[in-house]
């Protein structure tokens, strides 16, 4: 047996389980797995203190590939399971890996309530805008009009913006990134990892089989600089190949303006503020949709608020301080009693 008392420096390999990875070759999930496996050893947390909880879907196979504790649970319920685990064991680092169907179709309720409660969970949503595992039905993030197996004539549902929904539910940390931009993905995951509270990351992920190229505009060299807006805290909203476009407010609506030529100055642009307590700005950004507006990537919001698990622990402490540690015999004898001799 190993001597378990000595802490070991961990590497990516330590987080790779012995299970064959069973995603389709070329699936965007691989790179996300790799980034997470790279990130964890850097967090200073013993490996045994990680738990990965997922639902059902291609994305939800994630825990099997992580050499950590984990549950591949049932469809949509991972946030609820993770909440119970985290409340029971606040010292664990609990991650939820989910898909657009798992989190936003069947799991929508648990998703919004996790955001609301601010349980200290890291929620990574692999958004391929399709149901992968069931072989290609449209999902709540599929584009309007999309033709899929279950909408051969085009879908008539308007998609959710997962970021908007999370903000509407009161999320304290919300970010978006893409599978193929590894450095960005890594940095956003790292930010989520250190956030105290529910940290929600939407990863735009390519399903090569059923929805190939769904995020191409954002990932292809030719188009991406005009199609995406890289959020930086404290910086004005500037984008474009030559960083020559910006976002200005017209009333409360966004307006794309050309920069340079001295016509408009950067000072007129909206400045990003991750830490704004009022989530109006974050939501404003979350409504940007291509092609009219560039799609923001990065951290929309990151504010520190007491987490559900902290508050729960605090409530226990405070009550014990006030009442003393409960004693079973006293409890059983509580209320009115009488004695028969």
């Amino acid at each position: 047996m190993n001597d378990l008392s000595v802490p070991v420096a961990l590497t990516k390999k330590d987080f790779e389980s012995n299970q064959d990875v069973r995603w389709c070759p070329g699936c965007g999930d691989y790179s996300i797995l790799a980034q997470v496996q790279k990130l964890l050893p850097t967090l200073g947390i013993p490996r045994e203190n990680f738990a990965f909880i997922s639902g059902i879907g291609c994305s939800s196979r994630f825990p099997y590939y992580m050499e950590t504790y984990g549950i591949h649970s049932i469809h949509g319920r991972a946030p609820a399971i993770a909440s119970g685990l985290k409340l029971t064991r606040p010292e664990l680092s609990v991650w939820v890996v989910t898909g657009d169907g798992d989190a936003l179709a069947i799991g929508g309720n648990h998703f919004i309530h996790a955001m609301r409660r601010n349980v200290d969970l890291k929620v990574i949503l692999l958004n391929n805008r399709i149901y992968g595992l069931t072989k290609g039905q449209y999902s709540p993030t599929s584009e309007f009009g999309k033709r899929t197996k279950s909408t051969p004539l085009g879908s008539i549902d308007r998609p959710f913006s997962p970021v908007s929904l999370a903000l509407g539910a009161g999320a304290t940390f919300v970010a978006r990134t893409v599978d193929s931009d590894q450095p960005h993905l890594a940095s956003v995951l790292a930010r989520a990892a250190v956030h105290k509270g529910t940290a929600f990351v939407e990863v735009l992920q390519n399903c090569i089989v059923f929805n190939d190229g769904a995020h191409n505009a954002l990932t292809e060299k030719a188009t991406r600089d005009d199609a995406r807006l890289m959020l930086e805290h404290g910086k004005p909203l500037v984008f474009g190949k030559n960083r020559d476009q910006g976002i200005r407010l017209a009333g409360m609506a966004p307006e794309v303006i050309k920069l340079g030529d001295g016509a408009v100055s950067e000072a007129e642009l909206v400045v990003h503020d991750e830490h704004a307590m009022h989530s109006g700005l974050a939501f404003f950004l979350s409504q940007f949709e291509s092609p009219e507006l560039p799609v923001p990537l990065g951290v929309f919001r990151a504010v520190r608020q007491p987490t559900c698990d902290e508050l729960n622990a605090h409530l226990h402490e405070a009550t014990r301080e006030a009442k003393g540690r409960g004693r079973l015999a006293d409890l059983l004898h509580g209320g009115d009693t009488w004695t028969i001799v």
């Binding site: 045994e48 050499e67 649970s73 409340l87 014990r320 079973l328 059983l332 028969i340």
Partner: protein
């Protein structure tokens, strides 16, 4: 002049002396005292009349005198129905007597009716010749109409056959409190204490204890405390002095087992049982639950116990309730979820997951009238087959049930014992009857409670997540334990490693071993206890809250010389190993259930043995007489 008419006249005459009676202190020592073995009293009134309080205070008083008792509260599903309507009537029935009292009683010996609606909806239950005390002050024309009366029952002779006492409780209370400085509305709220005082006197109890209690209860509002005490005294004094009462009653006392007692409801007892499980095992209790009648009180009780190692999580729905519980179980907690029928339906998918994960979990279903929303505040036992069979796939789960309010404590411990020992979810069935009904409970000595041993595996050497011990239980490993990182999930898994396996024979083996494990829980079931003869004509087999009714019906029949035995099952799945053999010893098997015959189905299937179902789905418990009648027919 018949005896009844005599009473009426007395009463009418008595109206004149009301005012006096109030101040009367001299006791009618010459009044007859009837001695009874037991008595059934029902308090009924408007939801706002405080009948639940009156009833439970009365219970407390008789309990402290050493009586056995059983209660049945019956309140409307409306929160606060418009005053005076029949659907707004709230009732509380108690039976108390010498020694053990099994049920709250078939029919009241005495009814206290605070308004016309209460009288109308309850009068037909009262025993022929029973006492009916009516608050005539509430019998206005308007309230009679509201109650649906077309003529005044106090005057139209429709109450002939009862011993009616017309007492203007409203006015008497007002008179007593005329100097209290309280508003009219506030004064009106005190009339339940008047009624309580009256009944305590009539049934030979003192009011000192109750006065202390009022002062405690209303410590923050002394003016209300004083007023209620005043009303209580006035009621007591009235009964003591009034000539209308020809008799007062003494209910025999019988020495119960020595010990410290308290009155307890099923939900409360369950909550205490779960805390006990936590304290005895040294493992934190986690409750993930979504409110639903009649289960919510367990959540209420436990959510106040943060000075214990008890975490409560009010989830967004029942699915999150059980799922958070699964997460907590994975984390090493004694994990519990509580619900009732419709909520149970929502939990079934996650129950399947719990079976696959082989984690300990307790699911309480406080059954209510179904199907669907059904009769949410009423009693029924119709979720048994759902508990045993209601999941996709071959998905066995042990099912146990509690027979009485205090038995919920023992069953809570038993449920966690099975869950932890066999690493399995366990379903505990109670019902809306015992959940809210109270009975005296001899508080157990903590040191004598059964130990609950929880062992987490910490040795990583040779660890296989799904390797099993001699009970077929896999090991419980806490996340955070170094060297045993592993994944579990809802897909079929390898017999040892727990990794996903689609292997055909492995699936067959896993289905078999899950079934064998649940079957093996039967090894701990003690030999079936038979009340009555060990063989003979008739065996009555029951489960759950019908215990008291069946026990009493059997005792009566046996006293009449009938050969009738009674087995009351705690373990419903698996059934006790010796049950088939027990059944075989009787010519006829009668199975009373508050459903359409669900246990009957299980017995027929398992033992290929015909049984006689006795079923009832009326949102009400069996009457002793209903079971007794059937016993007589069959024995």
């Amino acid at each position: 002049m018949s005896e009844l008419e005599h009473v009426f006249v007395n009463e009418r005459e008595n109206k004149a002396v009301r005012g006096d009676a109030m101040s009367g202190t001299e006791r009618l020592r010459e009044r007859v005292v009837e001695t009874l073995d037991s008595v059934v009293i029902r308090f009924v009134g408007d939801s706002g009349d405080g009948m639940q309080l009156t009833g439970s205070e009365f219970s407390r008083a008789v309990a402290k005198a050493g009586h056995g008792f059983a209660t049945h509260p019956d309140y409307p599903s409306e929160i606060r129905a418009p005053t005076g309507t029949v659907f707004g009537v709230s009732g509380y029935q108690i039976q108390y007597g010498a020694g053990q009292v099994f049920t709250s009683g078939d029919a009241p010996d005495a009814l206290v009716a605070m308004n016309p609606a209460a009288l109308r909806t309850n009068i037909s239950d009262v025993k022929h010749g029973g006492i009916v005390i009516v608050n005539v002050g509430a019998f206005t024309d308007a309230s009679l109409v509201k109650a649906g009366y077309t003529s005044n029952p106090l005057e139209d002779g429709s109450l002939d056959g009862y011993r009616i006492f017309h007492i203007d409780i409203s006015a008497l209370t007002a008179a007593a409190l005329r100097d209290s400085g309280l508003s009219k509305k506030e004064v009106a709220r005190c009339k339940n204490y008047f009624a309580l005082g009256l009944m305590l006197c009539l049934y030979g109890r003192s009011i000192e204890d109750e006065i202390d209690d009022i002062h405690q209860k209303f410590a923050k509002t002394p003016q209300f405390a004083d007023a209620n005490v005043e009303a209580l005294r006035a009621g007591f004094a009235y009964a003591d002095a009034a000539e209308i009462f020809a008799a007062s009653y003494h209910v025999r006392e019988a020495a119960a087992e020595p010990g410290v007692y308290r009155s307890i409801t099923g939900n409360h007892a369950a909550a205490l049982g779960f805390v006990a499980a936590s304290e005895l095992s040294g493992v934190g209790l986690f409750l993930g639950s979504y409110p639903i009648t009649p289960a919510t009180d367990i959540l209420h009780e436990l959510s106040a116990l943060k000075h214990f190692d008890v975490t409560t999580f009010q989830a967004e729905d029942e699915i999150a309730g059980i799922c958070s519980t699964i997460g907590a179980a994975y984390g090493g907690a004694l994990a519990l979820t509580t619900t009732s029928g419709p909520g149970m339906a929502l939990k079934t998918e996650a129950l399947g997951l719990a079976v696959m994960l082989e984690l300990p979990l307790v699911i309480v279903n406080v059954q209510r009238g179904g199907p669907s929303t059904g009769l949410p505040t009423k009693i029924e036992q119709s979720d048994l087959l759902q508990a045993v069979y209601g999941r996709n796939g071959e998905c066995p789960i042990p099912v146990i049930s509690a027979r009485s309010p205090s038995d919920c404590f023992d069953c809570a411990l038993e449920a966690f014992r099975i869950a932890v020992k066999y690493m399995t979810p366990v379903i505990l069935l109670t019902d809306g009857g015992i959940a809210n009904a109270a009975e005296p409970w001899r508080i157990p000595d903590v040191a004598r409670l059964p130990k609950l041993e929880v062992r987490y595996r910490t040795d990583a050497e040779g660890f296989q997540p799904y390797a099993r011990d001699e009970n077929l239980a896999r090991a419980w490993v806490l996340p955070g334990t170094r060297g045993m990182e592993h994944r579990v999930g809802g897909l079929e898994k390898d017999f040892l490693s727990g990794n996903i396996s689609h292997d055909p024979m492995n699936h067959q083996r896993m289905v078999a071993v899950r079934a064998a494990k649940v079957a093996r829980t039967a090894q701990d079931i003690p030999p079936t206890r038979v009340e009555g003869p060990a063989s003979g004509e008739l065996l009555v087999v029951g489960w759950g809250s019908t215990y008291g009714t069946i026990a009493q019906a059997r005792e009566i029949a046996e006293a009449d010389g009938r050969s009738v035995a009674h087995v009351h099952l705690r373990h419903l799945h698996p059934l006790p190993p010796d049950l088939g053999e027990v059944l075989a010893r009787y010519k006829t098997v009668l199975v009373p259930e508050l459903n359409m015959g669900q246990l009957s189905k299980l017995l027929r299937e398992q033992f290929l043995r015909d049984v006689v179902p006795l079923t009832k789905v009326q949102g009400k418990p069996f009457k002793v007489s209903e079971v007794h009648d059937r016993i007589l027919e069959l024995s």
